[in-house]
Symmetry: C2
């Protein structure tokens, strides 16, 4: 946010975007001959035929594949370690993440553990992790079937270590996907409430990345366009999941927000949500973010007023004179997506756990607090949780 | 420009941007141990100390270097071949282009010929070139000291074959720079008229890329931001070359316009200018573009009206209702930069040569005509030249 900022841009991922682009899997040069396809433990990848489509396109491309299908919505270290062992045993030379952020993030972590020794948490540079250096990983191909995480355009993987209640993001240049194929046609089957949760995850990647103190001219460009598109098209995609134009706009916004995560950073809103999910793995990430968002952004309203007004202008396409215009637009957008007023108590969070969550957020994802518009005290973090509780 | 467009994004270059960033040359991991530094035959790289700075930073980084200093403003195949031979003979393992587009483009072409056999024109896929496949090149580092070509963020290299009067752009994934360092402090010494010529080159990369029929959502984002920044800051940089904020904004706009060239394409305006420069190597590229620009953009005024209005809005930051608002803003910007009314006749072009230039533009860079908003007839191309002649 300096007048003459210093920044860098390096996104080595080859991104293919568009309806029907999944078919390119049959013709693109892929980074190996035997893939492990990582999917969730749910039914949708098989039910909607996405897994069959991917395996048959790989066969056309003369690539062999096996499937690992145990990934949970908040993916765990245990499954990463199990899949990596299978990967080595079966001689896979690249990993395909197919599905939502949980599957693609797991694919990245599996790619790391398939060619590094020890335990995944040995490499995590926060919480109880040991911070060993990761100097290699198998090549990764990302095929998202949801629009939200942006993981197809960033190096980050978020894994939960259940033993220690830690949900921590990690990544480096080796965990950028080599190739990402974003095909909005694979997203039409997402139900309305998940469309909204995921879309708001993307929205907050962009909004946090825009108010982060490490924002740059390139991340600003991606962020404001993602914010503009999501405000306009997310409510349409929530109401009519078959609207391919809206699905495509939301998918592109989500990828743009992933580019924001590669060029700026999330702020402490994400640390706070990770702490919530670490204790309540059944809480959808996007829902957790929505639940604390109004209070969270209210907290920084007077700390980067121009940036709030710019976000409001991107959303409403009208001149803004007050930072609260952004909060108002955020609330309108949540109402239009039928997710306004989510409360932590709805997801099994107990009021007595809140202080522990403050501590967890600091310990596991404390780095993001240093990127906030101004430093928050523990009392302020607790207050955000409390005001969002009910 | 489709409602549900299909497109790709892959820019493998690591871009470092900002005042003082040149010092990173001493600490970044570089792609080799012995560099050939390619500079122009002019005096500025030595006079302003840029060459000394680069060689001493390389020494700090334990990298050896030699200098090739013969590059002309419209760089020639002869020098590419000569430098590549020296490069092989002296065992250089990467190429640094330091200076304007001519030096960096030459560095790319030298990187190709340092590890491919035969003649550079054997690999050119247009004009009298033979179109042989290029499957490798030495790594390239780009250090621009001008703001205009965008070559630091695209794979393109434009070289003139004087024997056959052909100036042709060429490039592929191997000619993307590995690393580009854009330091606006290296640009403060550019005189006003060259600042304007170069800045308008960047402007037309963005404007052509925005009206090209292969424009995509990502190229549009880069293009409109480049157009916005150049309209606002190029006149400032022209009037006060020491204004580092304006220099930085113009440099960033030029890099953004390079990203446009990597994600969309120039249109026939560039083909037409290349034909002019092929016959008149003393004609600065940017000046040639400026000379034909008003008539050129007038020609397509009714073919992509919404896009003209969007460009006008990016420039004036006011609602536009007529495509001619863009032409008006373009003229205002050229007047503000003291380059309005340039005529081909000023640069030694003869009226009798114009039909030959039409033919040359088609033969050497005909592909860009297929990306125009609508197909131009030869009569229309000739008319653009004629109306711009005097």
């Amino acid at each position: 946010m300096n007048a003459n900022p210093v920044f860098s841009l390096h996104i080595p991922t080859r991104i293919l975007f568009g309806c029907g682009e999944i078919k390119k899997l049959a013709t693109e040069k892929l980074p190996g001959k035997k893939a492990m396809i990582v999917i969730s433990s749910g039914t949708s990848m098989r039910k909607y035929g996405y897994l069959d489509k991917v395996t048959s396109l790989l066969t056309e491309n003369d690539v062999d594949s096996i499937v690992y299908d145990q990934i949970l919505p908040n993916p765990t270290k245990r499954h990463v370690m199990e899949a990596a062992a299978i990967c080595r045993e079966r001689g896979c030379d690249f990993i395909i993440g197919l599905g939502g952020g949980s599957s693609i993030d797991s694919a990245k972590a599996i790619a790391v553990m398939a060619c590094n020794t020890g335990d995944y948490w040995d490499y995590i540079p926060a919480g109880s992790g040991k911070g060993r250096a990761v100097t290699k990983a198998l090549p990764i191909v990302a095929i998202p079937t949801t629009a939200g995480t942006g993981t197809e355009a960033d190096p980050w993987t978020v894994i939960t270590n259940e033993d220690v209640h830690e949900k921590i993001g990690f990544g480096n240049q080796h965990t950028f996907p080599t190739l990402s194929i974003i095909d909005p046609e694979l997203m039409v089957s997402i139900p309305p409430h998940l469309t909204a949760y995921q879309g708001f995850d993307a929205f907050f990647h962009a909004a946090e990345g825009f108010i982060a103190n490490c924002a740059t001219p390139i991340s600003d460009l991606y962020a404001l366009e993602a914010i503009r598109l999501l405000y306009k098209y997310l409510p349409v995609a929530v109401k009519d999941g078959k609207n391919l134009k809206a699905r495509a706009k939301v998918a592109w916004a989500s990828t743009l927000a992933g580019l924001v995560e590669s060029t700026s950073s999330c702020t402490s809103e994400h640390s706070m949500e990770h702490a919530m999910s670490a204790f309540h793995p059944e809480l959808p990430h996007g829902a957790g973010l929505i639940a604390i968002s109004e209070v969270y952004f209210e907290t920084f309203r007077n700390d980067c007023m121009k940036r709030y007004m710019k976000m409001a202008e991107a959303m409403t396409q009208q001149k803004s004179n007050r930072p609260s215009d952004f909060i108002d637009a955020l609330v309108r957008m949540q109402k239009a997506c039928d997710v306004y007023g989510l409360q932590l108590s709805q997801f099994g969070v107990k009021e007595k756990d809140l202080p522990q969550m403050v501590q967890n957020a600091r310990e596991t994802m404390g780095a993001l607090f240093t990127l906030d518009p101004r430093p928050l005290t523990d009392a302020e973090v607790l207050e955000i949780y409390q005001k969002s509780f009910k």
